[in-house]
């Protein structure tokens, strides 16, 4: 059965098409309204994440283990009370080898009581039995090929173009995969927000031209912060490379950390 093409049917089709076209702007407005709820903030004026590459250098020779950095981080970022840290200080104590053991070094003790925020207690080894001891500040290693972002099932964590590894708190579902994936133990599940949290390099500070809080308060300049794309005059990062033999943590994992260390032993992982 074939319907004859009538004037009425043609007109009906044309008006339907016009109505369909008219819904497009309506849909656009509705979309904008929905997305207004999702978008609220904008980057500080003049900050383009593609024009920066942040790095951190840690000179462990200069760290005195005062814990100001760990405390400043907690306060600046409102990190929850308890064993949750975005940056912390580890104390390494390498004992003298036992006499006649034929070894160069003794046992290694590592501790970080309360992240080193309130100093360190008496060492677990008598002072005269210590061969070597030092402090190592730890934080997110800003990996070039970050394992934590690869495992996120919802795309909540990502490598920002400026080198920071960040978490979108609105997308994070708190599954904890990234916490297991980080080989440096730099992430934790916040008991307050129930999402993963980590060092953001104080993203709200660096985008305003300030240094991260830990770098700001460090009294000995053990923490050095820099931008590879816009080096400062007498760039502290370049000087750090000139003055030290530099290494990264767990280089064999191929994560490509952008936090560089000087003055640490092979015992540090």
């Amino acid at each position: 059965m074939k319907e004859p093409v009538s004037r009425r049917s043609v007109l009906r089709k044309i008006s339907a098409a016009l109505a369909g076209l008219a819904t497009l702007p309506v849909a656009k407005t509705a979309q904008a309204a929905v997305q207004k709820i999702l978008v609220s903030a904008s980057l500080p004026r003049g900050y383009d994440p593609k024009k920066h590459k942040w790095v951190m250098a840690i000179d462990a020779n200069r760290c005195i283990g005062c814990g100001l950095c760990a405390e400043a981080c907690k306060r600046e970022n409102h990190v929850p009370e308890g064993p949750f840290f975005r940056t912390w200080i580890e104390r390494y104590i390498i004992a003298k080898p036992k006499e006649g053991s034929g070894e160069a070094r003794g046992e290694t003790f590592v501790d970080s009581p309360n992240g080193g925020m309130h100093g360190f207690p008496e060492p677990p080894v008598p002072k005269e039995d210590i061969q070597h001891s030092f402090f190592v500040p730890k934080l997110c290693n800003l990996c070039e090929r970050s394992p934590c972002t690869q495992v996120c099932p919802v795309g909540a964590t990502f490598d920002a173009p400026d080198g920071a590894v960040l978490i979108d708190p609105k997308y994070c579902i708190g599954c904890g995969f990234c916490i297991q994936a980080c080989p440096y133990g730099c992430r934790f599940l916040s008991p307050v927000t129930k999402t993963a949290e980590k060092c953001t390099l104080c993203y709200h500070r660096i985008t305003r031209g300030l240094r991260p809080a830990c770098v700001e308060v460090c009294p000995t300049q053990a923490r050095i912060f820099g931008d590879l794309m816009n080096p400062l005059p007498e760039d502290p990062i370049q000087r750090f490379y000139q003055d030290n033999r530099v290494q990264t943590l767990k280089p064999h994992l191929g994560t490509g950390p952008r936090v560089f260390y000087a003055g640490i032993d092979k015992e540090v992982r």
């Binding site: 074939k2 849909a27 979309q31 929905v34 997305q35 999702l38 978008v39 609220s40 903030a41 904008s42 980057l43 900050y47 994440p49 593609k50 020779n61 200069r62 760290c63 005195i64 283990g65 005062c66 814990g67 100001l68 400043a72 306060r75 600046e76 409102h78 104390r91 390494y92 100093g119 060492p123 002072k127 210590i130 001891s133 030092f134 402090f135 795309g155 990502f158 490598d159 920002a160 173009p161 960040l166 979108d168 708190p169 609105k170 997308y171 953001t200 993203y203 709200h204 500070r205 985008t207 305003r208 300030l210 240094r211 809080a213 700001e216 308060v217 460090c218 009294p219 000995t220 300049q221």
Partner: protein, 151 residues
């Protein structure tokens, strides 16, 4: 033109598929944030949200705006690498409104850095506080802004 006659189950299947794919496309159109994919496979505006947090530490530059005299004293002496807020506490609220006082300074703060500890580097000046002085305050003998000068 001959009309194509499909079996009804096929028509239903096609309609169902169109319905599912269509509703997915509509949902994606409305729910994907506009900044998604701005920098990569994530929400670009997440960067702005993280950047919009409030500061707690103002930074030494902000202190220098009003307290430059004290800051210059500090710079001319061996405590020059110290930040104001390391000892005086986070002061963004104070920098925004001078009526809000920063934290009251704890006079036992000095030993946080200078108490002897075998893990501290040798170049760093250290004391055993209980052997060093039994009085109340380090500031009785030392000027924190100019540690190498006697008061």
């Amino acid at each position: 033109m001959k009309r194509l006659h499909l079996p009804p189950q096929i028509v239903r299947l096609v309609l169902l598929t169109i319905g599912i794919v269509g509703s997915y496309l509509v949902a994606r159109y409305f729910l994907t944030p506009p900044s998604f994919g701005e920098y990569g496979w994530y929400r670009g505006s997440a960067l702005a949200e993280l950047a919009s947090r409030d500061q707690v530490y103002a930074g030494t530059k902000a202190c220098d705006e009003c307290h430059s005299e004290e800051y210059q004293k500090l710079l001319g002496n061996s405590h020059k690498t110290l930040s104001c807020e390391g000892c005086h506490g986070p002061s963004k609220a104070h920098a925004d409104n001078p009526d809000v006082k920063p934290e009251i300074l704890n006079y036992s703060h000095c030993v946080r850095c200078h108490e002897a500890n075998p893990s501290r580097p040798k170049w760093h000046k250290q004391i055993v506080a209980r052997d060093h002085y039994t009085g109340d305050r380090c500031t009785e003998c030392h000027l924190p802004h100019q540690p190498s000068e006697a008061p």
